[in-house]
C-alpha cells in the first residue's frame, strides 16, 4: 500500500505531464480486495444473496471478527459463544452487514498513513463524509421512486470521492497542501487540485473506478457527482444515481458530516425536486442519517479518536479514556481546590455587612476561609499603619463562633516584620513563619495538623495575614494557587482598607464631636468669665456710685450723733450708721466675688486648717458649739492653697451647713479624705440638715441665689466660696437631697504642681 518511488518532484512538471504521472500512480494503487468485488456482484437481490454474503464474509477471518464484534457491541442480547456470521447477518440485516463490509474494506485499502496526525484526521473526516453520503444516497434511493436500488446508491455514495482518497494516497503531503489551500482561500477543492496536480479528484476517481472494473454507475458518480442535473451528459448509464449522489453530497455538506473540502454550494432543493422529493422528504432523509451511520462508524472505528487498528481500537480507546479520566480527575481536583479560593471570596463578600470595622472584616475573612478552604480552621490578623493594636480572628469549620482578640504591641512588631518579609520574598502565599505558628497556637490553642500556609494581606496602610491549615488531605498543603490567593488576599485587603478608611472617618467625626464639645464648654466658660467680668465692672461702678451717698449718709449721721444729746436720737443715728456700713459691705462682697484677691497658695496641713475653722466657730457667739466636729482621716494630709481663702471657703460652707441644720439639733462635720485623682485632697463639710432639691443644688452657687426666705443672708457665701475654691485650683461637688443632709466636697491640690500653680 505504499506509493511508488517518484522519479521527479511532482510540482516541477508541467500540468498535463503531471496529471499523467499522477494517473500512473493511481494505476499503481492496490486493486480492490476480492471480498469487495464479490460483494458488489451480489447486490442485486437481498433475499437470494444473504447466504452468498455470509459465505463471502466467512472467507475473511478479520472481517468475521469485525462483524461479530459489531454485533456484540450493538448489544443485541446475543451470547457471544454461539454467535455465527449467519446469525449476525440475520440479526443486523443483510443490508447493514453488506454496507458495513464494503465500508470496512474500502477504508482498509486506504488506511495507510505516515504517522501524520493531521493528515490522519483529515482522512478520517473524509471517510466520515463518504459514509454519510453513502447513507444519504441509500436513503434518497429508498425515498425517490426513480428505480434505483438503495444498495447501488450506497456503493456509489461511498465511492464518489474515491478520487480524493486516491490522490491523498499517492501524494499525501501535496494533498494536505491542497486541503489547506482550499480551506484557507475558501475555494473549490477541485480548483486547488487542478492547480497543483493538473487534474482533480473527479478525474482521478473516474480513472480508479474504471481500472477497478466497477460498474459504470459507480464510475459516473465518482466522475460527475459535482455536476448539477442539467449539466449531465445525455449518454449516462445511470443518470439518476449520479443525481442521487450529487444530492446526498450536498446534504452531507450542509449537515457538516465529515469534511471533504469546499466545493461550492449545492442546490439541494433543485436536485431534490428533479428526483421528485419534497422538503419534508429531505428532512426525513437527513434525520435518518445518524441511525444509518452509527453502526458503520462503529464497525470501521471512526467513532473513536484513534482507530487505525480496528481490532484493538476499543481497548485502545478504553485505555486512553482511563488516562484521560485520571487526568481529568486530577485537573478536577485541582480546579476544585482553586475554586475553593473563589468560594472563599464569595463567602467573605457575603459575610461583609455594611459599616464593617476592621475587626469585623478580620472575623468575616477567618469565617469565610474556614468554611471554604481550610477544614482545620483559619486565622486572620491585621495591624494598622498608625496603631499598635493587632486584630486577630480565628474560625474553625463546624464551630459556629469566631474568636476575636487584640494582641500586645510586642507581637505587632514581629508580625509586621513577617508580613513585610513575605511581601518581599514570595508574594502572597508561603509557608507560615515561626511567629505566625506561634500566633496560631496562641489564638487557636492547638497546633495545626498540617503545615500552616500563610497569605500576606498587604496594602499601603494595612498589613496583615491569613493563616490557613489545609488539613491532612494528601498533598494539599503543597498545592499552590497563586491566582486564588492573590484574589482572596486583595479582596480581604480591600475590604480591610475600606473598613479602616471608614473607621478613621468615624474617628475623625468623633474627634470633631469631642472638639465641638470642648469648644462649647470653653465658650460657656468664656461666657461665664465674661459675665464675671461684667459683674466685676458693675460692682466697681456700683461701689463708687453707692458709696458716695452712703458716705454722706454715714458722715452726716456721725456728725449728728456727736451733737445729739437725746439717747433715742443717738440710737437712731447709730442705726443709720450701722446700716450704711452693711449696705457698703454688700457692695464690697459683690466686688470681691467678681474679682477675688489673687491667692497666695502654700502647702499646709489639712488638720491645722480644719482646727482653725472649728476655733472660729467655737468663738462665734451664734455657733452651734459641740455640734461641729472634725473627722480627720489622714492627719498627715496636706493641702496647697491660700490659707486665708481656704478658711474663708470653709467658713462659708459651715455657715451654710449651720443654716441647713437650723434648730433641729443636727450636726455639722468637717472631714478630709484622699482626692479622686493623684495629688489631691478632699475637704468635706457634711451636715444632716434639711438638704436641697436637685434644682436648688444646681443654682446653689449663683450669686444672690437663696432658696431660703428673702432677707436671710445675702446669698453670696457659696458663690464666693466656689470662686475661691476655683482660683485655688479646686473643684467641688454638692451631694444633697431633701431631708438627707448635704455634703459639699471640695477637692484641692495636695501639693504644688503645674496645674495648681495659678
Amino acid at each position: 500500500m505504499t506509493v511508488a518511488t517518484q522519479p521527479k518532484p511532482v510540482s516541477a512538471l508541467a500540468g498535463r505531464e503531471r496529471a499523467e504521472l499522477i494517473l500512473s500512480h493511481i494505476d499503481q494503487l492496490p486493486t480492490l480486495p476480492i471480498t469487495v468485488a464479490r460483494l458488489l456482484s451480489v447486490t442485486s437481490s437481498e433475499e437470494s444473496s444473504a447466504r452468498d454474503v455470509v459465505a463471502i464474509i466467512e472467507t475473511d477471518a478479520a472481517l468475521t471478527a469485525g462483524i461479530l464484534r459489531t454485533v456484540k457491541r450493538a448489544d443485541l442480547g446475543a451470547r457471544s459463544d454461539d454467535m455465527t456470521v449467519a446469525r449476525a447477518v440475520s440479526m443486523l440485516g443483510f443490508r447493514a452487514v453488506r454496507n458495513a463490509v464494503l465500508s470496512t474494506q474500502f477504508f482498509g485499502v486506504f488506511s495507510n498513513h505516515d504517522g501524520d496526525e493531521t493528515a490522519l484526521a483529515d482522512r478520517r473526516e473524509l471517510w466520515r463524509h463518504n459514509l454519510g453520503v453513502a447513507c444519504l444516497a441509500e436513503a434518497i434511493a429508498e425515498k425517490a421512486k426513480v428505480g434505483c436500488a438503495p444498495a447501488d446508491a450506497f456503493v456509489c455514495g461511498l465511492l464518489h470521492d474515491i478520487g480524493k482518497i486516491a490522490l491523498d494516497s499517492c501524494l499525501p503531503k501535496s494533498y494536505r497542501r491542497v486541503i489547506e489551500s482550499a480551506r484557507s482561500t475558501r475555494r473549490c477543492i477541485c480548483d486547488a487540485e487542478t492547480e497543483l496536480f493538473g487534474l482533480d479528484h473527479t478525474i482521478a476517481g473516474k480513472r480508479l473506478t474504471s481500472r477497478w472494473g466497477l460498474s459504470p454507475a459507480i464510475v459516473e458518480c465518482a466522475w460527475l457527482h459535482h455536476q448539477g442535473s442539467e449539466m449531465l451528459p445525455t449518454t449516462l448509464a445511470a443518470p439518476e444515481l449520479v443525481k442521487i449522489v450529487h444530492l446526498a453530497d450536498g446534504l452531507a455538506r450542509a449537515k457538516g458530516v465529515g469534511y471533504s473540502g469546499y466545493t461550492g454550494e449545492t442546490d439541494t432543493t433543485g436536485v431534490a425536486a428533479d428526483l421528485g422529493l419534497s422538503t419534508q422528504d429531505l428532512t426525513a432523509i437527513t434525520s435518518s442519517l445518524t441511525a444509518r451511520m452509527s453502526p458503520l462508524l462503529e464497525l470501521i472505528g471512526l467513532d473513536s479518536e484513534d482507530c487505525l487498528d480496528h481490532a484493538d481500537s476499543g481497548e485502545l480507546v478504553e485505555q486512553q479514556l482511563r488516562q484521560i479520566n485520571a487526568k481529568l480527575l486530577e485537573e478536577n481536583e485541582d480546579l476544585t481546590f482553586r475554586l475553593a479560593f473563589f468560594h472563599a471570596i464569595d463567602r467573605f463578600v457575603q459575610n461583609l455587612g455594611d459599616g464593617m470595622r476592621l475587626s469585623n472584616v478580620c472575623e468575616a475573612a477567618a469565617r469565610a476561609v474556614a468554611d471554604t478552604i481550610a477544614p482545620d480552621g483559619a486565622l486572620c490578623w491585621f495591624v494598622t499603619g498608625n496603631s499598635t493594636n493587632i486584630y486577630v480572628a480565628s474560625a474553625c469549620r463546624g464551630a459556629p463562633n469566631t474568636r476575636a482578640t487584640v494582641l500586645e504591641p510586642l507581637d505587632f512588631a514581629a508580625l509586621s516584620e513577617t508580613s513585610r518579609r513575605q511581601r518581599a520574598k514570595v508574594g502572597h502565599y508561603t509557608t507560615a513563619f515561626e511567629v505566625e505558628n506561634d500566633l496560631w497556637q496562641q489564638v487557636v490553642g492547638s497546633p495545626p495538623r498540617d503545615q500552616l500556609q500563610s497569605i500576606a494581606l498587604a496594602g499601603d496602610t494595612i498589613t496583615g495575614g491569613l493563616l490557613i491549615s489545609l488539613g491532612d488531605a494528601e498533598g494539599r498543603a503543597d498545592r499552590y494557587c497563586e491566582e486564588g490567593c492573590r484574589a482572596l488576599a486583595s479582596s480581604i485587603a480591600t475590604a480591610a482598607g475600606a473598613a479602616r478608611g471608614r473607621m478613621s472617618a468615624e474617628e475623625t467625626a468623633e474627634q470633631v464631636v469631642e472638639l465641638n464639645r470642648k469648644l462649647q464648654s470653653a465658650q460657656s466658660e468664656m461666657l461665664r468669665m465674661r459675665s464675671m467680668a461684667m459683674i466685676s465692672e458693675m460692682a466697681a461702678g456700683a461701689a463708687h456710685e453707692l458709696n458716695n451717698p452712703l458716705a454722706v449718709i454715714s458722715g452726716r449721721s456721725q456728725m449728728e450723733f456727736a451733737r445729739a444729746t437725746d439717747p433715742d436720737q443717738k440710737q437712731a443715728f447709730q442705726t443709720i450708721i450701722e446700716q450704711t456700713r452693711r449696705a457698703s459691705e454688700m457692695v464690697m462682697d459683690l466686688m470681691r466675688y467678681a474679682k477675688p484677691e489673687k491667692p497666695t497658695p502654700i502647702i499646709q496641713p489639712v488638720a491645722a486648717i480644719l482646727e482653725a475653722v472649728r476655733a472660729h466657730w467655737d468663738a462665734d457667739a451664734s455657733a452651734i458649739g459641740d455640734r461641729l466636729s472634725v473627722d480627720l482621716k489622714d492627719s498627715e494630709a496636706t493641702v496647697y492653697a491660700d490659707a486665708g481663702q481656704l478658711v474663708e471657703i470653709l467658713n462659708h460652707l459651715v455657715a451654710n451647713a449651720i443654716m441647713a441644720v437650723g434648730d433641729n439639733n443636727g450636726n455639722v462635720t468637717l472631714a478630709s479624705a484622699p482626692g479622686e485623682c493623684g495629688d489631691a485632697v478632699q475637704i468635706i463639710v457634711r451636715d444632716d440638715g434639711c438638704g436641697m432639691t436637685p434644682d436648688v443644688v444646681e443654682h446653689a452657687i449663683d450669686p444672690f441665689f437663696s432658696h431660703r426666705q428673702a432677707g436671710r443672708g445675702r446669698g453670696l457665701g457659696l458663690s464666693r466660696a466656689y470662686r475661691l475654691a476655683e482660683i485655688n485650683g479646686g473643684k467641688w461637688r454638692i451631694d444633697s437631697s431633701p431631708n438627707a443632709g448635704t455634703s459639699v466636697v471640695v477637692e484641692l491640690p495636695s501639693r504644688k504642681n503645674a496645674d495648681s500653680d495659678r
Binding site: H544, N547, N548, G555
Partner: protein, 194 residues
C-alpha cells in the same frame, strides 16, 4: 493787716520787712544780693517779691511764718459729689483747725491748688475729667507742692487700684463710707496740728 497779708500774692519790701520782722534796708540788701528773689516794677525802681519767693526765703532762713499764715491748715476737697463737698466743708470748718476750699473737677483742683496752696488735698479717685491718680502724679511732679499731703478718698476699694494710687504719690487712702473722726484724726496727723 495780717489778714490782708495772708491773701496777697506779691509783696513790697516794706511788707516783707513787716512779715519777717526785719528792717526794710535788710530786705533791700537781701533782694539786691539775690538772696530774696523778686522783680522791679517796669518803668520804676520799686522792688516786688512774689509769695513763692518770700516763702522760700523765709523757710531757708528759718524765719517764723506766723505773719504770713492764719494758723489754720488749708484743706482742698476735690470731689464731683456736691453732698460730699458740703459734708467735708461742714465737718472740717466745724472742727475749727482747718480752712476749706473745694473743687469739682481735676482742672479746678489744679487752679485752686495754685492759689490756695492747700496743706492737704482730699481727692476722690473718680473725677469727671481726669482720674485722681493723674491729679496726684501732676502735683507730685511739681517741687513747689512737695509739702502737700494727698489723701485719696474713694468708694472703690480694689487693692490693685489702691496700690497704684500710692505709687502715684498719694499719702493715704480712705474708703467711703468712713468714720468721720478717723478722717479728721488722719488729716491732723498728716499736717501736724494738735
Amino acid at each position: 493787716m495780717a489778714d490782708v497779708l495772708q491773701e496777697k500774692q506779691v509783696f513790697t519790701t516794706g511788707e516783707v520787712a513787716q512779715i519777717c520782722k526785719v528792717s526794710q534796708q535788710t530786705v533791700i540788701r537781701c533782694f539786691d544780693s539775690g538772696k530774696l528773689n523778686g522783680f522791679r516794677v517796669p518803668g520804676s525802681r520799686f522792688r516786688r517779691i512774689p509769695r513763692d519767693a518770700l516763702i522760700t526765703f523765709m523757710k531757708t532762713n528759718q524765719i517764723p511764718m506766723d505773719q504770713l499764715e492764719t494758723g489754720k491748715k488749708r484743706v482742698l476737697v476735690v470731689d464731683d459729689d456736691e453732698a460730699i463737698i458740703e459734708m467735708f466743708t461742714d465737718l472740717l470748718e466745724r472742727d475749727g483747725r482747718f480752712e476749706v476750699k473745694s473743687a469739682k473737677t481735676g482742672y479746678d483742683a489744679g487752679i485752686i491748688t495754685e492759689q490756695f496752696r492747700p496743706d492737704v488735698m482730699l481727692l476722690d479717685f473718680k473725677l469727671p475729667d481726669i482720674n485722681g491718680n493723674v491729679v496726684c502724679r501732676t502735683i507730685r511732679a511739681n517741687p513747689n507742692y512737695k509739702h502737700m499731703q494727698i489723701i485719696i478718698i474713694s468708694g472703690v476699694a480694689d487693692p490693685d487700684e489702691v496700690a497704684e494710687l500710692k505709687a502715684a504719690g498719694a499719702d493715704d487712702f480712705i474708703r467711703k463710707p468712713f468714720d468721720i473722726n478717723a478722717v479728721i484724726n488722719r488729716i491732723a496727723e498728716l499736717v501736724k496740728v494738735a
